[in-house]
């Protein structure tokens, strides 16, 4: 029994469903853009270097870089370089993050410690750890240890500062709640200080992760006999630019991967946000 007038849509759910579908397709479109953008960049690079718009000697096309990556894997050298760099990154990262968290928490919780340590941290932070690399190499040798120390030294600062700030920025009212309900020192630490500081602390760790990658390349370029940074440096000196780009792209890939891992860790640790 259809009348003429029912041509106009009257079902509110149908209207909402249509809008919902539109929103969904918009979301998909945005996701697509995110996936396309790195591919677009690589394609542009490929085209420009193949057509001669960019100097192929300095900017070899990505397909050629991929080719030399396969060759390097096949020769077995690649796995060693990646392995040794990852080991240094992880060890250095942990050696910087763990003391950073401990010192940062102490600074946040005890104001005399904060007033004593803060000037030292602020004075040491602007000194690039890399500038100390010659001394670090004399003290710790040319092997893994000197790289681990260099990375740890760079990672420590953002973590320490963010952890202390995280504790200090906890809303005072939660301290009152803990006090009023009779929280002891240990309970205060585990129920209020640590979880309350965690969001800002994790931002510091995220920053530390990026710094670890920046540092490893530079440290391995200056004094190492293996690793991705060493690969980049020796390829550059021999003008094997394809090999050099393999190293750079690897670093970029690991940086992206670690960021994703830390983000998902963040979501797990902060379900309340």
């Amino acid at each position: 029994m259809k009348k003429e007038r029912t041509r106009i849509e009257h079902d509110p759910f149908a209207v909402e469903q249509r809008e919902w579908k539109q929103r969904q397709s918009k979301e998909r479109y945005k996701q697509l853009l995110t996936i396309i953008s790195p591919i677009f960049l690589l394609l542009l690079w490929e085209v420009m270097s193949r057509t001669g718009m960019m100097d192929i000697r300095f900017f070899p096309p990505p397909s050629a870089i991929l080719g030399s990556f396969y060759k390097m894997i096949a020769s077995g050298a690649m796995a060693d370089h990646i392995g040794v760099s990852l080991y240094r990154i992880f060890a250095g990262f942990l050696a910087g993050v763990i003391p950073g968290i401990i010192v940062g928490l102490l600074m946040g919780l005890y104001s005399p410690i904060r007033h004593f340590v803060q000037p030292i941290v602020m004075a040491l932070m602007p000194i690039p750890t890399l500038a100390l690399l010659p001394i670090i190499i004399i003290l710790f040798g040319i092997g893994d240890l000197s790289k681990v120390v260099t990375i740890a030294g760079s990672v420590f600062f953002p973590v320490v500062i963010n952890t202390a700030a995280g504790v200090l920025n906890i809303d005072r009212i939660y301290l009152d709640v803990a006090n009023n309900y009779g929280a002891g020192k240990v309970q205060f630490f585990f129920k209020i200080a640590l979880p309350g500081a965690l969001p800002v602390m994790l931002e510091g760790i995220q920053m530390g992760q990026a710094i670890a990658l920046l540092t490893i390349v530079a440290a391995e370029m200056m004094g190492a006999t293996s690793g991705i940074g060493y690969l980049i440096w020796t390829s550059y000196k021999a003008f094997l630019l394809k090999d050099m780009y393999v190293g750079l792209i690897l670093i970029s890939f690991f940086g992206y991967l670690f960021s994703l891992l830390l983000r998902s860790l963040q979501k797990k640790l902060l379900p309340w946000r």
């Binding site: 009152d176 006090n179 309900y181």
Partner: protein
């Protein structure tokens, strides 16, 4: 007074010292609150009512004078506070928030569970017990805060404008819920508010405070029989009279402080 006293406040004075302008937040307050009494403190903002509550809560020390909360039962906490809206801890679930005081006092697990479940149910939070506060409305958050205080089973309850941030409808609902829980436990309550309606509905006695120096300038007994509802208060002509009474008192206070500072 026939009942025995629960809280005794003697010559309590609190001054805040600053280089430029020192302030007397509380000026020589002496007060006795009976066991099971629901006392509302009403006053203009900045009159020191929150300072008084914070001193009773052990969060601040008086400059001069002291107070005593009579304990009835060994091992019971003296007081628990219901904070304003932000007092619910965001990284603990609803259940963990309600259990907070009991956990801090290291009560046996079974006891914690029993008391927590009871008050979750009582406040209608049992369906939300595993959610984090960010997923709750303002009214629900305040239910968590109230459940946390009652679950802790203190000698007295302190409430710092717990409903100030809620919309009217939610406020009425929560006020009546609070009264029904309170009627069951008959705890002594000190309740701070700037809403005259709220004080008339909840209180056995209303204390009016003046600002700077913070003093109690008037006491009003409310003997309307309980259980009360907001309709009872609004319809009752005696209550309407009391409302106007308090209103003129506060108005006078605000005007005075305006003259002094303006």
């Amino acid at each position: 007074m026939s009942k025995e006293s629960k809280i005794e406040i003697r010559n309590l004075t609190k001054a805040f010292y600053k280089k430029q302008a020192s302030v007397t937040a509380l000026d020589d307050i002496s007060l006795t609150i009976e066991d099971g009494e629901f006392v509302c403190i009403v006053g203009p903002s900045g009159c020191g009512k929150t300072t008084l509550l914070r001193i009773l809560a052990g969060l601040e020390q008086p400059s001069v004078g002291d107070f005593e909360i009579h304990s009835e039962m060994e091992g019971r906490p003296l007081q628990s506070m219901v904070f304003q809206e932000r007092g619910v801890i965001p990284w603990l679930t609803v259940k963990e928030n309600v259990a907070f005081g009991l956990k801090m006092r290291r009560m046996p697990k079974a006891h914690i569970k029993e008391r927590t479940d009871y008050y979750l149910k009582k406040t209608g939070l049992d369906r939300f017990s595993h959610l984090y506060p960010k997923e709750l409305s303002g009214g629900m958050k305040q239910r968590v805060s109230i459940a946390r205080a009652f679950a802790n089973d203190p000698e007295i309850l302190l409430m710092d404008e717990p409903f100030a941030a809620l919309d009217e409808q939610n406020k009425f609902i929560l006020q009546e819920e609070l009264l029904s829980i309170w009627a069951e436990t008959k705890k002594t309550v000190v309740f701070i508010t700037h809403s005259i309606d709220e004080a008339l509905l909840l209180g056995d006695r209303i204390l009016l405070m003046s600002a700077q120096p913070g003093k109690i300038i008037e006491q009003i007994h409310i003997d309307t029989p309980r259980p009360r509802t907001i309709e009872d208060i609004r319809k009752d002509p005696i209550m309407a009279g009391k409302f106007v009474d308090i209103w003129t008192h506060l108005q006078h206070e605000v005007q005075l402080s305006r003259k002094e500072y303006g």
